[in-house]
Symmetry: C2
Subunit: 235 residues, 2 copies
């Protein structure tokens, strides 16, 4: 039986401090719950509307329109960083959970298995990140780290560190490697100065338009374009 206290506890997992305290997070919706069950994650409980009632579902839900199914999932222990050669992305201070989740969905699509995230990024098990990732959160590893330090580790392995800048060089005209780290920066401020100092190759997505245009692209759409271009070149 689902007690009042348990309903309140599940609802509290909306906040990072309670996700940390209990070591759990919430997944909602038929598709995402299925993905959780077939992933390597430990699913602690699955609640369905037909069993616990609509009111309990509404009280537990983190969504505006509660789903008929909700799962409680154990947060995996954070892993240490073992750097192998390959293509990775690094996220610097991505705060918007929709952007963060969309970027995870993209990295999953483009076969990037690990994302390095600065400590001030939104947390990967935030319910809005989980929902926007459409389940990619179960397949892509997110490692919170000191991002400038990770950049230096790539450089010491003689691997390039790419970064997107509005004064970078045209991505379509420069050589792109199939190994290294690609940095994407905060929604308003871009890549911070400390990580930017470690970038070996500054790239720009050129605007096609003459005259007044959008000043920049949303970080998730920029990630889409950059990953597509890296993968197209390396087929």
């Amino acid at each position: 039986m689902l007690t009042n206290a348990e309903i309140k506890r599940i609802k509290s997992l909306k906040e990072k401090k309670f996700r940390d305290e209990f070591g759990q997070f919430v997944v909602e919706g038929e598709k995402l719950v299925e993905e959780a069950l077939s992933s390597g994650f430990r699913v602690l409980a699955v609640y369905r509307e037909e069993e616990v009632g609509k009111e309990a579902m509404e009280r537990m839900s983190h969504l505006t329109s509660p789903s008929p199914v909700l799962a409680l999932v154990e947060k995996p222990a954070p892993k240490g960083v073992v750097l192998e050669r390959g293509l990775y992305i690094g996220l610097d201070a991505i705060r918007d959970p929709g952007n963060f989740g969309t970027i995870l969905r993209l990295t999953d699509w483009f076969g990037i298995s690990t994302v390095f995230a600065s400590m001030d990024c939104v947390e990967v098990f935030n319910p809005k990140v989980v929902q926007a990732s459409m389940g990619s959160v179960f397949r892509v590893e997110v490692l919170y780290c000191d991002l400038p330090d990770i950049c230096r580790r790539f450089r010491r392995m003689d691997l390039p560190v790419y970064g997107t800048f509005l004064d970078g060089s045209d991505i379509y005209e420069q050589s792109l490697a199939d190994e290294g780290l690609i940095l994407f920066g905060n929604e308003a401020n871009g890549i911070g100065p400390e990580a930017a100092a470690e970038v070996s190759s500054r790239i720009l997505i050129p605007s096609y338009k003459q005259g007044p245009t959008a000043e920049s692209l949303n970080v998730a759409t920029a990630t889409a374009i950059v990953l597509s271009e890296f993968r197209r070149r390396c087929r």
Copy 2:
């Protein structure tokens, strides 16, 4: 002086029926208000926190964190469709205002001046669309139309109609024209059957990954990748 009635009226513009009734919409934030003022749109009033007070701004605002400046803008009269040769996009039942606004920002960046939208897309002057477009709403023309009919008009001009499908052909390996219409479909259901029947070229963004991966991409990120690839080819 800003009356109570006027504050309520401005707040009501969150809803399409009142935007239609009054022929007005709201823009918030320093940057967006500047963009409105320097655009061809008619700005009817600009309210600043230092003049009207914080409480009035909070009551008028459509945002969770109200901005210190808000403008009331006249909705332009809808234009008729005059088809000239060029590259266009068509949106079929895009419901999420964040996606719709992000797509407008992308079309602006990639120099596409006109977007055809099916009648069941979200309205372009919805405050969340305006905000997500980051001002591109003032530069990109959105024409609400019978989308399958527009597709047929492109076909009659011997112009291709592209559409993104999960069973399409690899976008990187097929020829792409610099004129025609590119369709993007609803978040959950893709391009509807009536518009899909008019597609002359089905395109797919290939997933790089072997094994389980994201089932699809978010429509705004798919738009980013497709527009980048069209423009890269036609430089």
